[in-house]
């Protein structure tokens, strides 16, 4: 299994936000991380990408612990943040070169991949521009290009559907599908439950830092019949106790 979060307790300060959280993501699987604002999605993601250190429990990516193999762990992960994060001083081309340098990619094959992605998102003409001045949607596309040009084992995508145009959402979902068939694992956090319902293989639902439920849509529907059929009803039922 590619991502294994076991008994994770943690947060920003001594008071833990996450309490004994466990779930996993297998290779070739897209898992939706579902939760309300403040439920602990971002904290979970920050723990997985290694910005925060667990207070208890452990996180393994590709069977590696961050503390034991920093470079291996980090190379296995590609991350797309919710709000695009760019270098104000670098052009689009230089963002791609920076990614190649930092992840020690092979320059030629990496650029081939990058060109494909740039073409897909109609960014090829803008290689010499500063993406920091792009619109939010276009900035997000730059983030997607920089993440998907990596050959990562685990992709972590934080709320991808807000700010992207419908065409870009379709293309992103296709990219995710491609990576899945190549054997990558994908963890995606989102509020757009209707899209998640159609695309994710499994769901991890958290509320107040704790795991509420997990499983495929069919499993969840089966288990929580009383709450309703679709993902939104099940999640609201679980968290509100309706």
């Amino acid at each position: 299994m590619v991502l294994n979060v076991s008994h994770l307790t943690g947060g920003y300060s001594l008071i833990p936000v996450l309490k004994d959280l466990s779930f996993e993501v297998q290779a070739g699987e897209l898992v939706g991380l579902i939760g309300l604002n403040g439920a602990g999605k971002s904290t979970t993601i920050n723990h997985i990408i290694g910005l925060l250190t667990p207070q208890a429990g452990e996180i393994k990516v590709d069977n590696l612990l961050l503390a034991e193999n920093m470079q291996g762990y980090r190379k296995a992960i590609a991350y797309i943040p919710e709000t695009p994060v760019l270098y104000p001083e670098l052009t689009l081309k230089e963002h791609i070169e920076m990614t190649i340098l930092a992840y020690e990619l092979d320059e030629k094959t990496a650029w081939e991949k990058a060109h494909e992605l740039l073409q897909l998102f109609r960014l090829e003409e803008r290689l010499d521009w500063f993406p920091a001045n792009f619109s939010k949607g276009m900035k997000q596309k730059v983030m997607i290009v920089c993440a998907f040009m990596l050959d990562a084992k685990l992709y972590i995508i934080d709320e991808p559907f807000v700010g992207l145009d419908p065409l870009a959402i379709r293309d992103l979902l296709q990219l995710i599908e491609q990576k899945k068939t190549q054997g990558a694992a994908i963890l995606m956090s989102t509020h757009v439950l209707s899209t998640a319902e159609q695309t994710c293989d499994r769901f991890v639902m958290i509320d107040q830092g704790q795991l509420k439920a997990s499983g495929t849509l069919a499993e969840l529907q089966n288990e929580y019949q009383t709450y309703g059929d679709n993902l939104a009803d099940i999640y609201l039922g679980l968290t509100q106790g309706a």
């Binding site: 920093m70 762990y73 270098y87 001083e89 670098l90 930092a102 992840y103 500063f130």
Partner: protein
């Protein structure tokens, strides 16, 4: 509104003092004393050599220029904040009270500064230009009146669109130039009369415009922001100033000097681009480099040359060190599978290149100034050694801290 001014002034002063603590550290005060002492000594020695028969009347235009420059020093703070455009609008009718308070505060500070700087000029006026005491006093009054007018202009600009234009330089530059010329070449009392008329006229206009126009919030807030970033830029020479966000310029013509991918260090790649394109860093570096080089060219004294070299190289290196933390906020710099040692290496490489450039510039400038090849080489050497000392000592201390 009076309360608001007091609160803001208090908060602002607190912030400025916080930074001043870093600016006025021991090394810097010592270096400053050294340089100022050197300049004062040269000035005093020059005054001693002047004899009664020497004719220095040709320096009058230089004195006029100096007076004009001194007149431009010091701006009035309005301490208006971006959110005021929204929150203070209902209180706009009370704003003149606030601005008046701000103006009086600025007046006290600035007239003091003018008097101190003018005092430096007095010996020159008396000994070299042989002017009478009455002339010295008359000229001082003119200078103070003009400074008050220039300050008032800053505060009234919100009500009078003309003052927001470049054309209003007439008030702070052209009219003073004419009046100073009258004072030096015709009669100081005539010049004073003209000044009083000008100030009187503008006071009347300010009042009239204020009564009929709406306050230009956006312009005034912009001005205050620009003033603040100038202040912070000075502090940034000595310490990290988080409030400072530099603009980015592409500067394609400098691409040839940037490290390429072949150098194989992501942080060298990144930080070099920041240094060249971020106006905050490139501007600071260039300003200091040019200023110091110019000083070195015009100074002929060996010890002052040495002092300037040491002081300015110190400022340059210290101003560059925060560059390595510039991207702290960017989450990706924490996610890259790159060892911290590689990061440090990249920064050191960049720093050494910059230091080399500084050494060459200072060395050549010192060579021109002192006409001594050894002094030039010595200055270049000092830059290299001093930078090495600062970076090895300071970077180590920083790593320990974090």
């Amino acid at each position: 509104m009076q309360e608001l001014w007091k609160q803001r002034l208090h908060a602002y002063q607190k912030q400025v003092f916080k930074y001043l603590k870093y600016v006025l550290n021991d090394h810097f005060v010592l270096a400053m004393l050294f340089v100022l002492g050197g300049i004062a000594l040269t000035y005093a020695n020059f005054l001693k050599t002047v004899t009664v028969t020497d004719d220095y009347t040709w320096t009058k235009p230089i004195v006029i220029l100096l007076l004009l420059i001194v007149l431009q020093l010091g701006r009035g703070a309005t301490l208006l904040q971006p959110a005021d455009e929204l929150f203070l609008v209902p209180q706009e009718y009370q704003l003149p009270i606030y601005l008046k308070k701000a103006f009086h505060h600025a007046l006290k500070k600035n007239l003091g500064l003018q008097i101190v700087l003018y005092a430096v000029l007095v010996p020159y006026l008396k000994i070299v230009l042989h002017t009478k005491t009455s002339f010295v006093i008359g000229l001082l009054v003119i200078q103070l009146l003009f400074k008050s007018l220039v300050l008032a202009k800053n505060y009234q600009a919100g009500y009078w669109a003309y003052l927001q234009k470049k054309a209003s330089l007439v008030i702070s530059l052209l009219i003073p130039l004419v009046v100073y010329s009258i004072a030096f070449y015709i009669c100081v009392w005539f010049a004073l009369t003209v000044t009083l008329c000008v100030v009187g006229y503008f006071m009347y206009r300010f009042k009239k415009e204020r009564s009929k126009n709406v306050f230009a919030w956006r312009y005034m807030i912009q001005q205050e922001n620009a003033r603040l970033s100038r202040v912070y830029r000075v502090f940034a020479l000595f310490t990290d100033v988080p409030n400072l966000q530099g603009k980015t310029k592409r500067r394609r013509y400098l691409d040839w000097m940037l490290p390429t991918m072949q150098q194989n260090n992501p942080y060298l790649y990144l930080e070099a681009r920041c240094l060249v394109r971020n106006q905050e860093y490139s501007g600071l570096y260039l300003r200091l480099l040019i200023l110091a080089s110019a000083l070195l060219i015009f100074v002929h004294d060996f010890w002052i040359t040495l002092g300037v070299t040491i002081l300015f190289n110190y400022l340059i290196v210290f101003q560059l060190i925060p560059l390595q933390d510039y991207y702290q906020e960017n989450v990706f710099t924490h996610l890259y599978p790159v060892l911290p040692s590689v990061k440090l290496q990249g920064f050191k490489k960049l720093l050494s290149r910059i230091v080399l450039l500084t050494a060459v510039c200072f060395g050549i400038a010192a060579l021109i100034g002192t006409q001594h090849i050894l002094v030039g080489v010595l200055c270049g050497g000092i830059v290299l050694v001093e930078s090495k000392l600062i970076s090895s000592y300071y970077l180590k201390a920083r790593i320990k801290k974090s």
